[in-house]
Symmetry: C2
DNA sequence: TTGTATGCGTTATCAC
DNA sequence: GTGATAACGCATACAA
């Protein structure tokens, strides 16, 4: 099939790489100039139908596709955008990316992805990435504010995601403080009085806001809030499990545990089962995000629904608006309290708005 | 901050876009030629230390970064690779991408992502994508074999993932048939005799193999296998839940349900709880993948562990080997039977190898 | 060690 | 409606 194969005289020999065809080949074959070839590709350019037909035929025969690099160099758009996030695993990030990708593809652009994993080199990587795209969504605690500002100043379109707006940049996030307060109040309404917050506010702005709402609800209720959250070193089930094992070791454990997210909550479920604490009878447990599995746990998990896909999709939309120099404003997406059974509710209650947004 | 802002006299006015600096600016400022600037960037090029210093200083002062498009056009590498998958949501894909991204970044390349969602336009999108990268990992049932072969023939490096090898291409996948047979046999060893398979083999090669192993185990045991799997229209908890509700409606439901993946299994958990079927007493339930949550369900889910991150990372490694024209061979990753409690085991048993690979 | 000149494959601006 | 030709920004062979 490939003639390159047959004339390959050995691994060390320079292979007779069949170079990609170019406009010149196509132009020659179609008997026109390269300008005409280029024009023939664009619908709105003035080209005689017959000429266009010939060009298209030649292009097809040679299996020619214009070089993206050349197009980018000659034009001034990359037709690609990127999203930078802390990590890729976990349902939350997965959904955000899914929403982002959908919208980007819908707009006819390509998607680049970079996970920073908290590494210092991330800074340099993002700058590098910035050179290959039209715009950038920067999520969470991935790269320093200073770098973000420099990037924006250098001309790349930048949208912030789940991250405080800085330097006049546009940001999209979910409402958190109000939802956390509602959630906490709801636990009070079930008679719970000794709550703890399981998660590390320093790990992300979102978690910090949830902790803040948790504390505010205590104040509003005239109850003393715990001085400190129970910090677990990550957001996976395993982290919640280990932390909860410690919590349940206490002689008078809390009667409600507000978890940083649903995975942590499911780790708590396991610890509770293993240590003989019943949910919700002995201890109420709540999550955050309302991931697909949350409603399917036993008991179904009370949690705060975040519009994860929308977060990504909206970020993409804002980004394209920004690139097109349309006017945009920061946005806060609603959250929704999903009262299920792990908080003490008897059955699925109709959801009530949880956010202030 | 941006002077463009202050002199912006209106939305319709062409903005005084400050063009990016080029080699020429840097060369002039450093008092050298553009060739020297270019060389100064590369560590192994012969440039006087003092000269390099001056160039770097000039570059920094002008905040210059070489245009990627120009580099790509002049050179012949994109320093980017892509992964094409059916979807982005769900822990399986998320982990595969995570592994892929990690390895790609480690190798100093950039990551592009495309989810096909079964849409027909995917074919065209992949061809487009192929023009902007050095190599492509194609996963699962995303694009037709014919397109894959054309792509490969046209010169892009291609690695297949969780997909049958075709046209002499290299593929990486997890062992499935043997693991499914082991899993099924294990259920037999618990005295289960009326098993059903919950999942649609037509949805992916992997699921097809699991169904096949399920059937083979029946044959080996001398037991009649169900003629058909119970097909659920997706791989999420909700799908498993709905399907299981149907299953449990039967007057003599199966005493074991082998699920296509862990999410489906957790949907079955919920259906069982709601219909009063105890796991594993009344019905054994097994999953696939061993996602983070599996061990944290009640009861802990017996499942087959797949090395999801490794799948992505290895695909990346193979891809780079391929790009570098190193010799490579197809690979099959081991799977591992995680015997927990949902199959009837009393406690965590030490894992036993489940695959043949 | 450094500079000159050319190629990379497009798009776009002119003429015709 | 079509054809020369000049950017686009960098890498590199070749000369010096």
């Amino acid at each position: 099939m490939t003639e390159a194969e047959t004339s390959d005289t050995g691994p060390r020999t320079a292979e007779p790489v069949r170079r990609r065809p170019t406009v010149y080949q196509v132009a020659e074959r179609a008997g026109v100039s390269i300008a005409t070839v280029s024009r023939a590709l664009r619908q709105d350019s003035p080209v005689a139908p017959e000429t266009r037909r010939r060009v298209m035929a030649a292009a097809r025969e040679l299996n020619w596709r214009p070089s993206r690099a050349a197009q980018i160099l000659a034009g001034d758009t990359h037709d690609a955008v990127a999203i930078v996030l802390p990590d890729l695993a976990g349902p939350y990030y997965a959904q955000v990316i899914a929403g982002f990708e959908s919208e980007v593809v819908r707009q006819g652009s390509s998607v680049m992805v970079l996970a920073t994993h908290g590494r210092a080199a991330a800074d340099q990587m993002v700058r590098d990435l910035a050179g290959r795209i039209d715009g950038l969504v920067i999520m969470d605690q991935t790269i320093p504010d200073r770098t973000v500002e420099e990037l924006a100043a250098s001309g790349v379109a930048v949208i912030l995601l789940a991250r405080p707006a800085i330097g006049g940049l546009i940001a999209i996030r979910s409402e958190s403080v109000g939802a956390a307060a509602s959630l906490t109040s709801h636990l009070f309404s079930h008679g719970r009085r000794r709550l703890c917050f399981l998660g590390d506010p320093d790990r992300s702005p979102d978690i910090a806001e949830r902790w803040s709402g948790f504390v505010q609800a205590h104040i509003a209720e005239g109850l003393p809030a715990p001085a400190e959250p129970v910090r677990c070193p990550g957001f996976e089930a395993e982290h919640g499990y280990r932390a909860a094992l410690e919590i349940f070791r206490d002689e008078s454990p809390p009667d409600g545990i507000v978890c940083a997210n649903d995975e942590v909550a499911s780790g708590v479920y396991r610890a509770a089962a293993e240590t003989g604490h019943r949910i919700p009878d002995d201890v109420a447990v709540t999550g955050w995000d309302d991931v697909n599995l949350a409603a399917h746990l036993s008991p179904p998990l009370t949690t705060v629904r975040q519009q994860m896909r929308q977060l990504g999709a909206t970020a993409a939309r804002l980004l394209f608006d920004r690139i097109a120099r349309r006017h945009i404003a920061s946005q806060v997406l609603d959250t929704e309290l999903m009262r299920r059974e792990s908080c003490g509710c008897r059955q699925d209650a109709p959801p009530e708005p949880a956010g202030t947004g």
